[in-house]
């Protein structure tokens, strides 16, 4: 399992990356989760963070380093990341429930209160999610961010939701 073959980072690659917060921090509440494991020239996450919680520095190919203690979970970095590689996870959202936020640039958008199939990094449905809110302010520049409440045990897996209006595809998830 590796990002170069699977197209998404493995657990190990994420754990090794400087943008992934600790379990203990995630248990305390909303925090950015940066899944950027490849050195590409990019730093808008650093520029946008009002709390100085994300450092890229020079050269700008450095992987973003998250100081999870400074992160307030505001989520501004989610829409600004051109790679859509930043998520918001709050494992203290409700008893047995986590909140997961992710960029979602598809139409139609879901609405708060709807129940939708929550998907993992491979696009497989792993749970039913409840849409808590959809942030689509002008600051997001047409990158809406969807927040789903999902069962706590899939909080580290859920990273999107099924595109709507799509037909079932044979061979999906292979």
């Amino acid at each position: 399992m590796s990002v170069a073959v699977d197209g998404f980072p493995s657990r190990e690659e994420l754990r090794r990356s400087p943008g992934y917060p600790s379990e203990e921090r995630l248990d305390r509440g909303a925090c950015a989760v940066i899944e950027c494991v490849q050195e590409i020239p990019c730093n808008p996450c650093e520029t946008v963070c009002p709390y100085g919680a994300i450092k890229v520095g020079q050269p700008i190919t450095n992987l973003p380093r998250l100081d999870a203690e400074l992160c307030k979970g505001c989520g501004l970095c989610l829409a600004v990341c051109p790679g859509q590689a930043i998520f918001l996870v709050d494992k203290a959202f409700a008893p047995g429930e986590a909140l997961v936020g992710f960029p979602y640039e598809y139409v139609p958008l879901p609405a708060a209160g709807e129940r939708v199939p929550a998907t993992n990094r491979a696009g497989e449905v792993v749970a039913e999610g409840r849409v808590i809110r959809v942030v689509n302010s002008s600051r997001n520049d047409r990158t809406p961010v969807v927040f789903l409440a999902v069962p706590l045990e899939v909080a580290d897996e859920v990273r999107s939701m099924e595109r709507r209006g799509q037909k079932p595809r044979p061979g999906q998830g292979e």
Binding site: P41, C42, A85, A122, G123, T143
Partner: protein
Amino acid sequence: MTRSDVTIIGAGPAGLAAAIEAARAGAKVVLVDENARPGGQLFKQIHKFFGSREHFAGTRGIDLARKLCQEAQELGVQLVLDTAAFAIYDGRIVAGTTPKGTVQIESERIILATGAMENTFSFKGWTKPGVMGAGAAQTMINLHRVLPGSRILMVGSGNVGLIVTYQLLQAGADVVAVIEALPKIGGYAVHAAKVRRAGVPILTSHTVLEAKGEPEVSSAVICQLDDFKPVAGTEREVEVDTVCLAVGLTPLAELAWMAGCQCEYLPALGGFVPVHDERMETTVKGIFVAGDVTGVEEASTAIEEGRLAGIAAAASLGLLSPDEAEERMTAAWERLAALRMGPFGEGRQAAKEQLMKVGKAG
């Protein structure tokens, strides 16, 4: 005959940036493009760009195109559209063909910003309707708002293949798979992760053997590769109505060849590219290059090269003091260097250095 200080061929990101810099320095600039409007491929780049603030990171290509076009207009750049430049005579006359006949533009300096063309490759059935370049599909969905098909096979996992896959999904199509001949994904992991999250499989060590259907594509046969050779018994047929080819780009260097510019074969830059120096000047004095024509990269690098060429062309006409030109070019080179770092940029950086070394030796 139209006359100008600087004539730029190609109004994509490199040409627009060159026009802006040269015009800002006070040059009379003519910008020639074969399309009906300037912007090149930028208008179909609806995604947010990488980089840092000075590279317009986080800005969508389409918005950047609008900004650059507006800037060029405000600076008085003369646009000559619907005009395909087909020749350069005496290193100073650009000839173009328009729907109304031919035009000639005489100028002191010429900047070639002609970009690149999509590669293709042949397989059984590849001429059937439904087989197209990924860039063509991107033009259809993002410029003309027409879906080329509803079930698509993407061949090639470089950034173009991955980005167009994502945009086809956004446009409402299903992408059945992205296949890649190499044993690993070619493009940025973040682009791959976006399409994987949307449920699109990426099959490495795979190729397409045949597009089937009469008259248009109704399925494609794909198979596994071992060391680039098809593995017998792994063939399978996937039901698709469109096969998109995202197998690289080739610099459009014909005008440079014709003008007598020395070209060098550098695979990391996409093939034969005109040799240039640090001022983006080719081996033919007065002819400059910028953007994909001198090495296939990205819009953000094309913009910086365009700035360099525009500044250098203006400076060579005495419109900028050497110090001023030096200062602006150093800043552009620093921005370029930042974009050519890391595992994806290093190869291009090395090839560019080689290209400029050849320029010096010549």
